[in-house]
Subunit: 342 residues, 2 copies
C-alpha cells in the first residue's frame, strides 16, 4: 500500500499537478468537469494530503498546544475539553503538554515549540515558574500564547481567569460566618498570581471581621503529595489547630480529608473545610465538600476562542485583554455551622 501523492493522481488523469492541487482545494481556476474528475480519481486512488508539505509551505500547522501543570486535576481536564472543542471546530489539532509543575520542564517544552510545531499556545503556568523569558521568547518567535487561570500579568496577551480575590474573600467569609475564628489557608504556590489573589481575599476577609492575621496559618504546599500530607498533618495535629481550612486547590482538600480521617477529626465539627474544586464527587464526600467551582470548561473555550481570533495573521500580536469569569460557591456540609447543619 504505497502512498498516493498529487503527482500520481495528476499522471493518471493526464493533467498537471497544480490542476489537481487546485481542484482539490476547490479553486475557481478549475472547471467543474475537471474538478469532478480529479476529486473522484483522488478519492478512488485513496489520496491523502500530506499535511507536513503544506505546513512547510504555509508556515501553519493547524495545531495548537495546551500546556497544563498537571492532569490529575479536574479543573484542567475540563479546561482542556473546552479548548479541544473549539480547536476541533476550527479544524485544528491539539497537542497536550504537562509541566508537572516543574519550571524547567515548562521551559524545555516552550523551547521545543519555538520552531513552529504549533501555531499557538494556551497555557496555565507551573507553580515553580518565576521568570518568563521562555514565554516572551516564544511570543517573540511569533507564536502567540493565551493564558488561563494561572496567568502571568507581566506578559501582554489575552488572559482568562476567575474572580479569585472575590472567591477567596467569599470562601473565608463563609467560614467565618459559620463560626470559624482561626482559619488556615492552604497555598498552592506563592509564585502564582491566582494564589496571591486568593490569599489577598483571605486576608481581606479576616481583616473585615477583625480576625488577627497569623502568617503561620498560610501553609505553603507544593506538588509533592507526601510533603503536603506532612504539613497538613502537622497543622491539624497541634493542640492549637485551626477550626477552618480554606484550600486553594482540590487535591489539598482531599489530603486534608485524609488527614482528618487519620487523626480522627470530625468535619465540620472539629474542622470546617472549603476548597476550590471541580470534583464531581464533592457532593458525595463524607461530609460533602463546600466548593468554589470554577467554570473550567468555559475558561478553556474562552481561551481557545481568544487565541483563534488572532491566528492566521502574518505577525501576531495579542493585546492585553482580561476575561474574568465568575466562580460559584456551593455550600455543603463540610462547612456547616451549628445552626445550619443538615
Amino acid at each position: 500500500m504505497t502512498k498516493v501523492n498529487l503527482k500520481m493522481v495528476s499522471e493518471k488523469l493526464n493533467v498537471s499537478v497544480s490542476t489537481v492541487s487546485k481542484a482539490l482545494r476547490n479553486s475557481y481556476e478549475i472547471g467543474n468537469e475537471t474538478k469532478r474528475k480529479v476529486i473522484d480519481t483522488a478519492q478512488q486512488m485513496g489520496y491523502r494530503r500530506n499535511p507536513y508539505a503544506g505546513f512547510l509551505r504555509n508556515h501553519r500547522s493547524k495545531t495548537i498546544a495546551v500546556i497544563v501543570p498537571e492532569l490529575a486535576n479536574n479543573f484542567f481536564i475540563q479546561a482542556i475539553c473546552g479548548a479541544e472543542l473549539i480547536a476541533h471546530e476550527k479544524d485544528h489539532h491539539v497537542l497536550i503538554y504537562i509541566t508537572h509543575d516543574d519550571c524547567s520542564k515548562e521551559e524545555s517544552i516552550l523551547k521545543d515549540l519555538q520552531n513552529g510545531r504549533v501555531d499557538g499556545v494556551i497555557m496555565s503556568l507551573s507553580g515553580t515558574t518565576k521568570t518568563y523569558n521562555h514565554i516572551t521568547e516564544l511570543i517573540g518567535a511569533n507564536i502567540p500564547v493565551v493564558f488561563f487561570d494561572r496567568i502571568c500579568y507581566e506578559i501582554e496577551t489575552a488572559k482568562v481567569t476567575t474572580d479569585d480575590f472575590t472567591s477567596g474573600f467569599n470562601a473565608t467569609e463563609h467560614l467565618i460566618k459559620n463560626g470559624c475564628m482561626d482559619i488556615a489557608y492552604l497555598s498552592l504556590s506563592e509564585n502564582l498570581s491566582i494564589d496571591n489573589k486568593r490569599t489577598q481575599g483571605y486576608l481581606e476577609a479576616l481583616n473585615k471581621h477583625g480576625i488577627p492575621i497569623n502568617k503561620t496559618r498560610i501553609i505553603k504546599c507544593s506538588n509533592e503529595e507526601k510533603s503536603n500530607y506532612k504539613k497538613i498533618r502537622q497543622l491539624l495535629k497541634s493542640n492549637r489547630r485551626p477550626d477552618g481550612v480554606f484550600s486553594s486547590v482540590e487535591k489539598l482538600a482531599i489530603t486534608s480529608y485524609v488527614v482528618c480521617k487519620d487523626l480522627n477529626l470530625k468535619i465540620p465539627d472539629d474542622l470546617k473545610i472549603i476548597s476550590f474544586s471541580n470534583l464531581r464527587t464533592a457532593p458525595l464526600l463524607d461530609p460533602p465538600l463546600t466548593s468554589i467551582v470554577q467554570p473550567a470548561f468555559e475558561m478553556g473555550k474562552q481561551a481557545a476562542t481568544m487565541l483563534f481570533k488572532h491566528l492566521g495573521k502574518k505577525v501576531i500580536f495579542i493585546p492585553n485583554e482580561n476575561v474574568v469569569l465568575k466562580s460559584e460557591l456551593i455550600k455543603r456540609n463540610s462547612t456547616a455551622g451549628k445552626s445550619n447543619r443538615k
Copy 2:
C-alpha cells in the same frame, strides 16, 4: 524577528547549507573546528530547526496520537499520563483526541490521521464502535495502532488490558459474600469487549453461587448522564430493587450514589455498591467506595512502550500480543456486610 534557517546560518559563516546541517547533526563528515563555529553561530542567531521540513523528507513526525472516549474518567487521565511519560522519553509529541464515545467522531479522527500526521496511535475504543474498517484502514496506511483497555480482538496488533473477567467475577463474588442475593450490573456498552468480559465474570459468579440469572438486572447505560440517572433511579426505586450494584465504570457508581442520596437509600445497608474506579476520592466518599482499581498509568506506559518498539521500521506490522495486567479490589464500606462493618 524573522525566522532563521540553515541558509542564513550558512551565509553568515561562508559555508554550505549541507555543512551547517551536518554540523548540527554532529556528522563525522564535519571537522571539530567547523562544528563548534556552526553550533555557536546557530545558537547565537537563534536558529530553530523547522520540524516539518524533516517530517516531509523522512516521513516521520515524531508524534503519536492518544485517542480516548472521554477525559472525565480518571482511568483515561492516568493512562494518558503514562503514555505521555514514555512518549517524551522517546522525544515524541502527543496529540490527544476525544471521541466522546461517538463512533462517527472516532472514524473522522482516524481518517484525519491517515495522512501521516502521526507515526502511531494508542487508543481505547468508543462504546458505540461496532465496525472496524476505519482502524484497519489506518493500519493499512502503515500507521500502527496499539489498543489499551477498550480493545478490539478482531484486529491483529498489540493490546493492553486488565483481567476483566476475573475482576468481574471477584467483584460479584465479593458482593455475594457480603450478603447480596440480587445483584444488578451497570453495563458500559455491549459493544465493548471489556464490558462483555466483566459481564461474563458477573454471570459466572452468580452461577457458582447458585443465584438465578435475571437479564433485566443488566442495565445498559450510555454516555448520557441524564438517561443513566433515570435508568438507575428506576432500578433502585422499584419495590423489587436489588441489594447490590456492580458498576463497570466510575461515573455510573457516582450516579448510583447520587440516586441513593435522592431516594434516601443507605449504602451499604439498603444497597451495596462496588465499581471499577480510579477515583482518588473513593476512600473519602460517604461511604467509602469499594473499588476495582485498574493500573491505568502502567497500562498507558505499556501501550506506549509496545508502540515505540515498532516505530521506525519502514513497514510496520505489530503481531498480536496481549498484555494483561492485574486490577486490585480494594474493599471499603460501600460493600460492608453486617459482620465486617467498620
